[in-house]
Structure formats: C-alpha cells, structure tokens
Symmetry: C2
Subunit: 195 residues, 2 copies
DNA sequence: CTACTGCATTGACCTATGGTAAGAAGTATG
DNA sequence: CATACTTCTTACCATAGGTCAATGCAGTAG
C-alpha cells in the first residue's frame, strides 16, 4: 500500500493522510514494456501518467518521418499531452516507453475530483502548471539564443541521471540537432577536458 | 466603466455581472510610452499586465548583449514573467513597451482573490495556463524540427496582425534567426509568389 | 532643407550544423 | 556461437544561417 505514487502524494504534494485512500481508489496502474505506445499522434489524449518506475518520451513526427523529442519523464514525473488532455483535441504528439515501466494512470476527471477532495492537491497541480511554463520558456530561450554546445551542457547539468539512460541520438533529438552533430559537440568538449 | 478589461472579464472570462465591481476595485491602470521598461532582468516580477491598448515584449539578453524575444502581447493579452511572479525568484527576462500602451496592472494576490470571488475567473486562469503550455510546446516543436522559413510562415499565419506592427528584426529575434536571414527568407518566399 | 537615426536589404565571405556513408563497438536474438 | 541490430563515431561534402560592411530609404529633429 506504500506505493511510490502515494508516497509522492503524501511527501511532495502534502496531501493529508485522511485523503490518500480516497485518491488511491480513483487511479489504476499499468505495467509496460520498452517500445510500448501510450499515445499516437492524431488520437485524443485521455490520460495522464505518473512514472513509478521507468522512462517515457513525448515526441512529434515530421513529414519526413523524423522524430523530435519534446519531453522525457522518469521516476516521480508526470507525463501527458496536456493540450490534448485538457482541450480534448487530437494530439500532435505521441508518447512511448523507453524502458520497462510501472505507471499510475488517471484522467482529467481525476484531477478535478482530487482537487475538490484535497486543497493541497489543487495547489500542487497549479504549481506543476506554473513550473512547466517556466521550464518550457527557459528551453525556448536556449533554442533561440544558444549554440548546440551550450544547450547540451545545460541538458546534462539539468538531467545528469537521464544522460546515462537515454541513447545519445534521443538527446540530440531533444536538443534539436542530429546525432552526428551531438557526437562532434561531445568530441569538442572532451578535447577541452570537459568532464 | 466599460473598460476593455471589464469587457474581457465579462465576455471572455464569463465573470458574473455582480462580481465585476469587486474585481474592478482591485486593479489599477498605467499609461506607458514606447520604450518604457516594465521589468528588468534580475528583478522579481511583481505584476501581471493586461494590454488594453498597445504592445509589449518579453525578452532575454545574452552575454553578448543580444536580445532574444520570448513573447509579444497586444490588445486583450496578458503579459507577465509567470515564473518570477509565481515563484518569487529573480526574472531572467525583461519586459518593455513597443508602442504607447494602456495597461491594467495587478499582482499574484489579485489572481488568488479573484479566483475565490469568481469561480469563472479561476477556471479561466487555469485555461490560460493550459493554453500557454500548449502554445510553448508547439513553439519548441517548431524550433527543434522546422526551418527558419517554416517558422516564419507559422508566425505570420498565427500573428498576421502583429506582423505589420512589429519591426522585422524583432520577428527575427522571436524566430531565433538574424534580421539578415529573415530578409533572405522573405526574398525567397516572394520569389515563390508567396503572398 | 539638411542631418541624423533606425530599419531593411544585399553581397561576400565564414561557420555551425546537416546529409551521407562507412566502420567499430556493443548488445540482443535465434 | 553466429547473426543482426543499434548506437556511436569519423570523414567528406553540402547547406542554412551568421557576420560584417555597404547602401538605400524613410521618418524626424534641428
């Protein structure tokens, strides 16, 4: 009964003990394998996921079939295509599984119910939205103003743990460059005794 | 009494008539001139602005003194550095005035009070956050996956009105390219009979 | 009218990053 | 163990976009 999600709700979201069982009733869990697909572009996203264990990615596929990674989510992160979930419109993005994963699954209705049950949950949900905006804005600022090398350095500072779990070509995709370019960037950094 | 802001609250946010005077009491207005500065990077952002008339921009300045524009706001748009406003941390970004403007000014406390006075306001505020995220994500997707030309075409489709009011070098800055490059992109498009 | 200022354009040249192809190393699979 | 696959790297060339400098063209202050 002491799942990572309940622990997170209790310790991080500060949901009161008495409310935990009420929320626990409303969620379900899924066990997924590497390469499983959770959302395909064109579908409406009906769920939000909380990663208890594993790793997910949110990405788009362009007209040439190239994938562009918008977001990763590992342990204790939420993942969804919020635009599609909230507005009920088809998603431009897909979500799939990079490592065998254990997920908590819920929907928009859960968020509303949980917000009315627990004021702390409501507050935390707004915190998540605000934080997400801050993060995306910072990333845009890097994309319009910084070199591939600077962006890579930012990435490994921010996601040191993920850097080891994610193949480099996916990091390149997240940074908006090709795997070959990232390889060259890394070579350049290693020549400068970086790391 | 029929200010653009109250009209917006009533018609777009769907705040009830009886709540309008309560909210109106809590705001103030400012009249600003082109080039006035509303927020300087390094300061904590204390306000959110609603543009009744005029045009604002949110931008960063990099170590070489180059400006990178993150966002514009014209009539009936809200502008703030939400990260700094919500978290109380110093802003990486600045806000200034591109055209003589009339603004409604309020703070985070207003948002909370207004949310408790008017359920419609609370709902709309969450809508704004969700919409902002959707918009930023889309922009990131373009920055990591699309050419300067594609991004420019997206921009003028989305902001046809602004395209005429904003100097091209600022549009270039928003797109993450130089003014010279934008000029060449435009030349290329005109050769293809674009527009 | 003249001078000044800011913006857009253009050309010549340069640099960062992309495209392609190949090989090396590691890892999964039968 | 053998094979196939994925990832990473490297080399070579191509290209988008950056840099710098010059020009032209308003708008506007004197």
């Amino acid at each position: 009964m002491d799942s990572p999600f309940l622990k997170y709700l209790s310790q991080t979201v500060h949901v009161k003990q008495e409310h935990l069982p009420l929320l626990d009733e409303l969620i379900s869990r899924r066990q997924l394998k590497k390469n499983d697909v959770l959302l395909t572009a064109g579908q409406v996203c009906k769920h939000m996921f909380f990663v208890e264990e594993g790793l997910l990615r949110l990405f788009s596929t362009d007209e040439n079939g190239k994938e562009h990674i918008v977001q990763f989510a590992s342990e204790n992160w939420f993942m969804s295509e919020r635009g599609s979930l909230y507005f009920g419109t088809p998603s431009e993005f897909s979500i799939d599984v990079l490592e065998d994963s254990q997920l908590v699954v819920f929907d928009q209705e859960f968020i509303e119910k949980a917000s009315s049950i627990s004021a702390e949950f409501r507050t935390y949900n707004e915190y998540l939205l605000q934080n997400h905006i801050r993060h995306l804005q910072k990333r845009i600022n890097l994309l319009i103003g910084a070199s591939a090398e600077q962006r890579y350095i930012e990435f490994i500072n921010l996601y040191a743990d993920l850097t080891l779990r994610i193949p480099q070509w996916m990091i390149a995709s997240y940074l908006g460059i090709t795997p070959e370019s990232l390889s060259r960037v890394r070579k350049g950094l290693s020549r400068q005794n970086f790391k």
